[in-house]
């Protein structure tokens, strides 16, 4: 089977977000980059499915030239090849434009994918819709928020976590599936894996960016908590003060 996983390069935000002067992006001067956690699990799932059933895996991103770092990372854990759609300039691509670029890229694939994997939502924008739009454009079934995938002949059994249990969907391939973190525990790239990744094929192109219909104007930090923490003490000596608080909250009775 052929699997294509879409990923997005996002900053590793750490504890405090700082915006650029124009308030249209996160200042990344001191930050590293990664891909959204759900998508990292999507890549791991693709590698596992190919290990089990044979075939080929592709990782795709729509992002700046620097996103090659993330494509190589995913090839280092076992993805076979990469498709890089360059974004030209700092302007964001809205979900419709992103989906359209991915659809065009999928149509241009030499072998049509049997399974298109996405993260359930990106870590940064979190628009919850790109995969569903891609599925409609390609006339494919789509299951979202999946925490387990089993291939049974030409079908996929997909389990989605819901309160109190799991809902099971069975869909024929080709299909689109969005996954959530927890579906697997992604492996770390090995040194030989990193070396192999440098030589794996990467095809790049530059799609045109349509005008956004969900147009980001600017970003803002939410109002702070305004909290001033009460310091209960240093080290083990703080224990009586901690238990005092727990008593006040009704959690410890003498």
């Amino acid at each position: 089977m052929n699997i294509l996983v879409s990923v997005k390069r996002v900053p590793l935000t750490g504890g405090k977000i700082v915006l650029t002067d124009d308030e249209r992006a996160i200042s990344t001067r001191h930050l590293g980059f990664t891909i959204s956690p759900h998508e990292e699990c999507g890549c791991e799932e693709a590698v596992r499915l190919i290990e089990l059933h044979g075939g080929s895996s592709t990782v795709l991103t729509l992002g700046p030239p620097e996103a090659e770092e993330q494509l190589r990372d995913m090839m280092a854990i076992g993805i076979d090849r990469a498709v890089h759609l360059f974004t030209d300039g700092p302007d964001e691509w809205d979900p419709q434009a992103t989906a359209q670029a991915i659809v065009e890229a999928v149509r241009n694939e030499p072998e049509p994918p049997d399974l298109l994997l996405f993260g359930n939502e990106s870590a940064d924008a979190g628009n919850y819709q790109v995969a569903i739009r891609v599925a409609h454009a390609l006339n494919l079934p789509v299951v979202t928020g999946v925490k387990a995938i089993t291939k049974q002949d030409g079908e996929l059994r997909c389990e989605q976590e819901v309160p109190g249990g799991r809902d099971v969907y069975v869909v024929p391939m080709p299909a689109v599936v969005t996954v959530k973190e927890g579906i697997n525990l992604p492996r770390y790239p090995s040194v030989p894996g990193r070396l192999r990744a440098k030589r794996k094929p990467l095809e790049a192109s530059t799609p045109a960016r349509p005008e956004p219909r969900l147009e980001m104007v600017k970003l803002a930090l939410p109002p702070g908590s305004g909290k001033q923490a009460e310091i209960l003490g240093d080290g083990a000596d703080a224990a009586p003060a901690v238990v005092g608080v727990l008593r006040d909250l009704g959690l410890v009775n003498a």
């Binding site: 979190g126 739009r133 389990e159 927890g182 224990a239 901690v242 909250l249």
Partner: protein, 288 residues
Amino acid sequence: MILVFAERSEDELYRQAVTFANSLANGDPVQAVGVDDPAGYSPDGSATALAQVIRDRAPAAVVAPGTDRSNEVLAHVAAMLDLPMAANCISVTPGDPLTLTRIRWGGSLLEQARLHGSPALLTVAPHAVAADPAIEVDVEEIPAAPGSVRVAERVETTTAGVSLADADVVVSGGRGVGSAEGFAVIEELAELLNAAVGCSRAVTSAGWRPHTDQVGQTGTKIAPSLYITCGISGATQHMAGCKGAKKLMAINSDREASIFASADYAVIGDLHEVVPAISAEIRKTRGG
């Protein structure tokens, strides 16, 4: 007219969505519809039915709660009708184009945006809008349309002990715990407080705890009365999962850790010394 898509299992979030719709309606009527599907949930089946209502009634906007399911159904509608959609909004100003504020990074960042398309498709971030208690809107059941994807089976899971999402007290460990075995002190304190054990993403990535224990943007969202973090620095990924906690007690050896900016109570020190001392003090207080 503003149309609200109602998910019957989500009463409180539905009322929040209606409150949000009222802020957009400016006196215009608000109608609520829900999809009744005896054959089981079908995302594109629900969306096909909703899209037909939208074509027939031409609302100015469609509003739904920002749950997994409503975000999914509205995204299907958006694809079917070739319309833009904004997920997890917290406020909206009518106009052409309509302007809105929505959350990013699980609520750690806000985005101001313009939406070019009509009707506007909007979901409302859970617990971002206070539901008006006086709201009474009848939900009209509309029949589902056939869908290509449908729930085939429900597997019930039984969880032992206190569930993380519903726990009244949660004690979590982070990278500072150091190992899977290191969680013994966290578990001991949790047991004394009848609390659920949680952890940060660094811990699940290291394989020390299962992902079901992870609190965060891509893990479980919690809302306990008291949240105790041990050796957690306070990355946005983690804080997005515990915004619902009423009180936060942070234990960390780094007094500059960002978690202290969100904490109500702070203990500066090595959790491997502090946590066992707290457990011992609780036992002493209880006379055990």
